[in-house]
Amino acid sequence: MPKGSFLAEFELYVMLALARLGDGAYGVTIRQEIEGRTGRPVSIGAVYATLGRLNDKGFVDFRTSDPLPVQGGRSRKYCSLTASGRDALAHSATMLGRMLDGVELGTASGDAGR
């Protein structure tokens, strides 16, 4: 586990999407996964920029598929978490859980805190 490396919010989302999508994770599915769950628009550019950063940190691996067997078929860049990526994700999730422990938050619709 690389010490002291906190994940930025969007990095966390991307890694969670990778964990969820497993073998089928590539640009389109990752983008749609995050957009669908968070309900806020996500640009493909942001997804790739973040994937690149995570790759620099050694959390994400790429493998390119063979071109699809249709006319003009193209290859995809599939992504998966590395071992250290999984550790980092687990670490961040744990930290988040600890930080959330005992904190009362308003729900998205209720604003109960006020």
Binding site: I44, G45, A49, D56
Partner: protein, 900 residues
């Protein structure tokens, strides 16, 4: 198959790095296809664009700021894409880290480059640009040149010359004529005067111009039996007929004769002719001109020709000379005129050349100051970063590598400055074109052109190289060990520090001196022009221009066949106008200032025929009504004005200007004397003996800057003129009177067009528009230069204070007076300023004489201007030193020493 928007894809591809590009584009395409199927094409397009818009930021950021493994050993060679990219990304990062520096440096360059591109475009499109015609390099103008009574004159060729050229010249494969005139169009609500160009049928074919719609003139249009035809200018067609294509094929009444509209002259040709060839203002109508008509008329046409393939200008000139000597030998003409073949750019540039080259020199000066400034900034910055470079060197980066890094930064700054400068320039030119008056109409055709883009790129790259080279050299030679051992002090000590610092301080001071010298030259030039313009605008015109209106009228020969009817019209008109409320006085004349007719010849006085006469043959002559001088507010110094009978009697009176009276009758006794004008050109009415009945004060008849003071006035009726100007002095705002005056004209003759209604004050202002433009432009450049130089001085002193904080602290701790500290620091700046000003004055003394032709009543070495400019520059320079130096006073010695 639906494609996503191509432009969006292109933009995205540019933003993305190589390794992601194809995947991102393909991913987006996949979703796009899905959306297009599920919703519709438009919705998919919108989604795609929003994706691209929001992807560009993160993609660019990733691409530019991506950490690279710092390979300090690589890059000993000059080439290598990887190191180039690395240099570039380092440079961008270093700029992002210092936004203030980057902004000021790029803005300084942008101003310098922008001013250069704008001015170069001006020069290019008015002087250098080849005409956009087929074989433009072969199009020439044919003129006659000759010396007339001591004056060198270029004029249209005589009929005999033209005739001979047309029949025997082999040097040209095309020869076309044009002439400027006016026609009256009476088909609309009010009669209109149309500026009219008469052109020979082959003009457009020779130039390769195709009409906007319809057809051009053919030789058949000029045969006597054919129906008269007309082409209209695109601008007039648009504004007057709403670009109605149905107009072609219809007829319109011009001068009472039905003309068939056959085509529309394209706007580009129109604008070009108005800017480069026509001297008489915009044209709305084009008529065919036959050679016979051209030769039979009094006003000979202008001649354009196309050189035959392979013939040079001088060869054609030689042939015309041979033809000329043949017709002189044959006794068809005398030998006072010689043919001249001029490239089309020459006539225009003769008028504008001096002013344009001076402006060009001025902006190059501004660019030099800007470069010096940025060089100074880069050196300071290099000093501040010396530790960074020292560490990199110590870790093994070759000095070549560090130098290259600096050069890359310089070039990149230059490029950014170039792009912004280019935008700035195009914006400025739009502004200039919009503000151009008729006097400066060439400027309306000014555009930024591909050629100028090349120029801008050249200036940018040279600038980048020049100003990054000096800092690169200086920093290379710094002692690494010295910098490292000094710890975090960045710039090292003051003048006593390392050799590199002393050298760089010297270079920086030299740069400041250089800037000041250039700014002084520019400011002096501008000062002289402004001073000259000030004098010009305060010239007493010899009449009272306030509230004066001039109505230019042209009486068509069909309805006003002779002098009696024309005189009657003007008398009637003026009688009516005098009764109008708001009209204080009214008169009429053939011309009004600042545009009086020329008289050419020598004055002969009865009884003194053998005596020396006027040196310059150029004089002014006007035909005026009895009340002319009273209406103009011109003082009658001796004798009396004309009487209503003068134009019809045998007395043949003349009124002369004060200067003429003084020149020929210095001791008085002028009234009752007789004189005439001896000239090959002058009309009979001038060449016969005339009795001097009055003397009036001199008028600025050809504009305020003109000094043709020999002026003669004749009774209006002495010349059989179909044109005249009604002059009215309003008691209030002249504009209020205009509709009433128009009503009076149309009450007498409902079909009479009003050529022009002008406020005379406005005419005078337009007349000095060019000097005003020169003064304003050079003034703007000078202020720019002063501003940039002040920034330069400020920067040098501010850095000196920063670098010497410790020294100052020690001095103050040891008891130095604050005042002496400030003096010490300011000396740093004032010395180069003083040297720069000395050099500047010397340079200005050598250079300002090129301004001579643009100056009015002021010498290029005018001491007052010099003193004023030196005072202003000295004050600004001292202030630019003082403000940063004051900071030295505030240095707390304890703080300063502890910081070490």
């Amino acid at each position: 198959v639906t494609h996503p928007p191509r432009l969006a894809t292109l933009l995205l591809s540019l933003a993305l790095g190589r390794q992601d590009r194809r995947y991102v584009v393909a991913d987006l395409a996949e979703e796009y296809a899905e959306l297009a199927e599920r919703l519709d094409r438009a919705a998919a397009d919108r989604w795609y664009w929003s994706q691209v818009r929001r992807s560009i930021g993160p993609s660019l950021g990733r691409r530019l700021l991506r950490p690279r493994r710092l390979d300090i050993h690589a890059g000993s060679g000059l080439l290598g894409l990887e190191t180039l990219l690395q240099d570039g990304s380092f440079a961008i990062k270093s700029f992002v880290r210092a936004p203030g520096f980057t902004f000021v440096a790029a803005a300084t360059l942008a101003i310098g480059i922008g001013a250069n591109v704008a001015t170069f475009s001006l020069v290019h499109s008015t002087v250098l640009r080849p005409l956009p015609f087929k074989h433009a390099d072969r199009i020439v103008e044919l003129w006659a040149e000759g010396e007339q009574m001591g004056a060198q004159i270029t004029t249209t060729p005589t009929n005999e010359m033209l005739d001979a050229w047309l029949t025997s010249a082999k040097s040209f494969d095309g020869l076309a004529l044009y002439r400027e005139t006016e026609t009256t169009y009476t088909g609309g609500a009010v009669p209109e005067v149309l500026g009219t160009a008469e052109v020979s049928a082959d003009l457009m074919a020779m130039l390769g111009v195709v009409p906007r719609i319809g057809r051009g003139f053919t030789p058949e249009d000029t045969t006597p039996a054919s129906q008269p035809t007309v082409m209209l200018s695109e601008g007039y067609w648009r504004s007057r007929f709403g670009s109605n294509p149905g107009l072609v094929g219809h007829s319109m009444a011009l001068d009472g004769v039905s003309h068939l509209v056959i085509g529309i002259v394209p706007e580009e040709l129109q604008r070009l002719f108005e800017a480069r060839f026509f001297v008489g203002g915009p044209k709305q109508a084009w008529l065919p001109l036959t050679l016979a008509a051209a030769l039979s008329s009094e006003s000979t046409p202008y001649v354009l020709a196309r050189l035959a393939q392979g013939i040079t200008v001088s060869e054609s000139r030689a042939e015309l000379d041979v033809i000329q000597s043949r017709i002189v030998e044959a006794g068809l003409t005398d030998d006072q005129w010689h043919p001249a073949v001029l490239q089309t750019s020459e006539m225009v540039s003769r008028r504008l050349r001096t002013a344009l080259w001076i402006l060009q020199a001025a902006v190059v000066f501004v660019l030099l100051i800007a470069c010096a400034n940025v060089a100074n900034m880069l050196i300071s910055r290099g000093l501040a970063r010396s530790q960074e470079f020292a560490i990199r060197s110590a870790l093994g980066a070759g000095s070549m590598r560090v130098t290259r890094q600096l050069l890359t930064e310089g070039m990149l700054l230059g490029l950014v400055g170039g792009v912004v400068g280019f935008l700035l320039a195009s914006w400025c030119l739009d502004l200039v074109a919009g503000a151009a008056t008729d006097e400066l109409r060439e400027l309306r055709a000014v555009r930024i052109e591909p050629m100028v883009l090349v120029f801008a790129l050249g200036v940018t790259l040279v600038t980048g190289l020049v100003f990054s080279f000096a800092p690169a050299l200086l920093i290379r030679h710094r002692e690494i060990a010295g910098v490292l051992s000094l710890g975090g002090r960045g710039g090292g000590g003051g003048g006593a520090g390392g050799g590199g610092t002393a050298a760089s301080a010297l270079v920086r001071q030299a740069l400041v001196g250089f800037q000041v010298a250039i700014a002084l030259v520019l400011f002096l030039g501008a000062g002289l022009l402004i001073n000259s313009f000030h004098r010009l605008s305060r010239v007493d015109p010899g009449f009272e221009p306030a509230n004066l209106i001039a109505l230019d009228l042209r009486l068509p020969g069909t309805r006003y066949p002779d002098r009696i009817q024309r005189m009657a019209f003007f008398e009637d008109m003026v009688d009516r106008v005098k009764l109008l409320p708001g009209a204080a006085a009214a008169a009429w004349s053939r011309y009004i200032p600042p545009d009086i007719g020329w008289l050419f010849g020598t004055i002969v006085i009865e009884g003194r025929e053998g005596e020396p006469t006027n040196e310059s043959p150029l004089m002014a002559g006007n035909y005026v009504s009895p009340d002319y001088f009273r209406a103009m507010g011109t003082e009658l110094r001796q004798g009396q004005a004309f009487t209503p009978l003068d134009g019809r009697s045998d007395l043949r009176p003349v009124i002369v200007s004060q200067s003429l009276a003084q020149a020929f009758w210095p001791d008085g006794g002028i009234l009752g004397q007789r004189m005439r004008i001896d000239s090959p050109f002058a009309a009979d009415s001038v060449a016969t003996w005339r009795t001097i009945v009055g003397v009036v004060e001199d008028m600025a008849v050809f504009g305020l800057g003109d000094d043709h003071r020999l002026q003669l006035y004749f009774p209006f009726g002495d010349r059989d003129a179909a044109r005249g100007t009604v002059i009215v002095r309003a008691t209030g705002n002249p504009a209020d009177l205009v509709p009433l005056l128009e009503q009076q004209v149309w009450a007498i003759d409902p079909d009479l067009p009003i050529n022009r209604v002008a406020v005379v004050e406005r005419l005078l202002a337009d007349d000095i528009a060019r000097p005003r433009f020169n003064a304003a432009l050079l003034g703007a450049f000078a202020v720019l230069a002063l501003f940039l130089a002040a920034i330069g001085v400020y920067g040098v002193i501010a850095l000196a204070v920063r670098q010497r904080t410790r020294e100052i602290g020690v001095r103050v701790a040891l008891g130095a007076q604050r005042g002496s500290v400030v003096r010490l620091i300011m000396g740093r700046g004032l010395r180069p300023i003083a040297i720069g000003m000395l050099v500047g004055v010397a340079a200005a003394l050598a250079l300002t004489r090129f301004l001579q032709s643009l100056l009015f009543q002021i010498q290029p070495t005018d001491p007052i201007t010099y003193l004023a400019v030196i005072a202003i520059l000295g004050t600004v320079g001292t202030l630019a030193c003082y403000f940063p130096a004051r900071r030295a006073m505030a240095v707390d010695p304890v703080e300063a020493l502890r910081r070490e």
